[in-house]
């Protein structure tokens, strides 16, 4: 036991995580750098910003989604939200046509995608969660099958659009951390800042919400309103991360479970930063290791899926044993 109470376990964990995250950022920027710094800093800086934004968006959205659904296994991507984003993206191209789209500003397109995404994910959530008597396993299974359904549907539409562009279309289904779409980086940063401000203002309700619907209402939280706002923010964050790197099913689950395990409390004050820092460590550190040390490129997303799948199986079997 530690004598000094100010240095409680969560604080120490956060401090260590921040340090490791800082080290991975520095390594990412400097390792193997040859040539002029005037080139390297903006070039790697942009990639770094992209990775940090993705890590942050996925970590925050997953933890909050778990808070709202009151459950440690469900995450937005397991429930098919990022496949839904790709479907929305494909559907816009499909119904408006590629010509129309090339006239449109990419920001306007992204805005439209986000708005549709919020609408559809709200409907999906409403339909799945607010009707009574559905077991958790049914929800998870339905979410996963929804993911497969959305993905097949987008694949189908993309093939109707351009049957020749097979290779190109495969890319949008395969996450890659080394090729980040940088055109949206600026708007993504802005969006994430706004979302963070909104969430910051309602931060005090998170701990209460995680106690469950009835307790939260008893304690005076405007349950419905808070849940709607959080869900809208989660949809926006999922859109940001999917737009930048593509769909990654298990990253959020991995980061959130690790954060819960390390911090040892479920206070959002600690869990949220811990998850975000873990995300940064995993993405920036992992990318550094794979790019510089092993010289693999897209392998990181594959390894994340592998580990995440294992964690998921273990979590769900443990839950069943209880």
């Amino acid at each position: 036991m530690l004598r000094n109470l100010r240095w409680s376990r969560p604080t120490i964990v956060l401090a260590v995580l921040a340090l490791v995250a800082l080290i991975s950022v520095v390594c990412f920027m400097t390792l193997g750098a040859r040539g002029s710094w005037d080139f390297i800093i903006p070039f790697r800086g942009r990639k770094l910003l992209g990775l940090v934004l993705v890590a942050y968006a996925i970590a925050i959205s997953t933890v909050l989604f778990q808070t709202v659904t009151n459950n440690r296994i469900l995450t937005p991507s397991i429930m098919g939200f990022d496949a839904l984003y790709i479907l929305v993206q494909t559907a816009i191209v499909f119904f408006l046509g590629p010509q129309m789209l090339s006239l449109m500003n990419p920001y306007a397109q992204f805005g439209m995608e986000v708005v549709l995404m919020i609408g559809f994910s709200w409907l999906l959530f409403q339909w799945l969660f607010l009707s009574e008597g559905r077991s958790l396993h049914l929800l998870v299974l339905v979410g996963i099958v929804f993911g497969i359904f959305f993905r097949s549907l987008s694949n189908f539409m993309q093939r109707l659009l351009d049957p020749n562009a097979f290779q190109v279309l495969q890319d949008s289904f395969f996450a890659s951390f080394s090729t980040i779409d940088t055109t949206l980086l600026g708007v993504a940063l802005g969006v994430v800042v706004v979302v963070t401000l909104v969430l910051w203002r309602m931060g005090h309700t998170f701990d209460v919400l995680s106690l469950g619907r009835d307790t939260a209402i008893n304690l005076g939280v405007e349950y419905k309103r808070s849940v709607v706002i959080i869900l809208v923010m989660v949809s926006i964050l999922v859109s940001v991360s999917t737009a930048l790197v593509g769909p990654i099913t298990f990253f959020g689950l991995l980061v959130a479970s690790l954060a819960h395990g390390l911090v040892g409390t479920s206070k959002h004050k600690y869990i949220l930063p811990a998850a975000a820092l873990l995300g940064v460590i995993a993405l920036v550190g992992g990318q550094t290791v794979f790019e510089r040390v092993f010289e693999f490129d897209t392998a990181l997303s594959i390894i994340v899926e592998f580990l995440g799948g294992l964690v998921f199986i273990i979590l769900i079997l443990r839950g069943a044993a209880r």
Binding site: H137, V145, I148, F306
Partner: protein, 320 residues
């Protein structure tokens, strides 16, 4: 019985349509007026007939594999693609392609089948840790296990620059089927026949280990036979045309809603409807974006996952 005859007639009609759909013009008139060396006849013999046969064989045997699997795992929602079997077969095919690229297709198929067997056995092993045998937990664990095995496969494919070919194999597609490239699928027919002969045993095994032993059957042996049928069918279909998701789940479930669970009666139904379903999907895939084709796995993926969702969300799911 009369209904089944209607089903068979429907399948034959679809098969005939399938013979005449395609970019190259093969009409009845052209066939009658041409000799054996002419182009329409050649297209028919080299491409259309093999393709239609491949569809019939793959569709019926995969649906049967799903049925057998549902019987031995005692769960409505498992089939080769929700139990890690397909993914294990893909891993096996990748491994043998890397280590022994020169081996004949037959040998590669056997290696893929061994991997499929091992993967399914692993799945059953994990299921022992699910104490209550939660109906929905079983496919959930299976899909995740498939995801983990799939990640291993894509890692190696990525490492050895085979990712595009991996995507090409695992995407079920009949457009590459020509004479000489589908014959392995006849093993699928063998599997179907075996399933029919052993149907009563599987029905009994579906009632549980104690019940089976009580009736004097060797439970382990029935399970092993079932696993072998499933693995061989998955491997054969994967090696010849690629994976077709959810087929083995949808067809047996629909049949079970129609005629019940006595396997002796359901086997012919499942085989016929499986073939008809794949034929219909393949014809749709060929027509929607004519002259291009949409691969069968995409069409079946959309319809199959949609139907799966329906089965899951039905008000009262009378699952096994």
């Amino acid at each position: 019985m009369r209904l089944l005859t209607v089903g068979i007639v429907l399948t034959i009609v679809l098969a005939i349509i399938s013979l005449f759909v395609g970019v190259s013009d093969v009409s009845l008139g052209a066939l009658l007026s041409s000799s054996a060396e002419d182009r329409p006849m050649q297209v028919l013999v080299m491409s259309r007939i093999p393709r239609t046969l491949a569809i019939l064989l793959a569709g019926s045997s995969l649906a049967i594999a799903g049925l057998v699997m549902q019987m031995i795992v005692r769960n409505r929602f498992v089939e080769p693609s929700t139990a890690g079997t397909t993914e294990s077969a893909t891993l096996g095919f990748l491994v043998v392609t890397l280590l022994a690229p020169g081996w004949p297709l037959m040998a590669k198929m056997i290696v893929a089948a061994m991997f499929a067997l091992a993967g399914t056995a692993l799945f059953l092993r994990i299921l022992r840790f699910v104490p209550l045998r939660d109906v929905l937990l079983v496919p959930l664990v299976g899909i995740m296990l498939g995801g983990v095995i799939g990640a291993v496969t894509s890692f190696f494919a990525y490492r050895f620059n085979l990712l595009p070919s991996l995507l090409a194999w695992s995407m079920g597609d009949f457009s590459g089927v020509l004479r000489g490239r589908y014959e392995l699928l006849w093993f699928g027919l063998a599997g179907t026949i075996m399933a029919y002969i052993a149907a009563d045993r599987f029905t009994v095994a579906g009632m549980g280990e104690d019940f089976t032993t009580n009736l004097g059957l060797n439970y382990k042996r029935v399970m092993t036979l079932g696993l072998i049928i499933v693995s061989i069918v998955s491997a054969v279909v994967l090696v010849s045309v690629g994976s077709i998701p959810f087929l083995g789940l949808i067809v047996p479930n629909v049949v079970s809603l129609m005629v019940g669970d006595n396997m002796r009666r359901t086997v012919p139904w499942v085989a016929v409807l499986g073939a008809a379903f794949v034929l219909a999907c393949d014809i749709v895939g060929r027509i929607v974006r004519f002259p291009y084709e949409i691969p069968i796995s995409v069409v079946v993926g959309v319809i199959g996952s949609g139907l799966f969702l329906y089965l899951l969300l039905r008000k009262r799911h009378n699952a096994a």
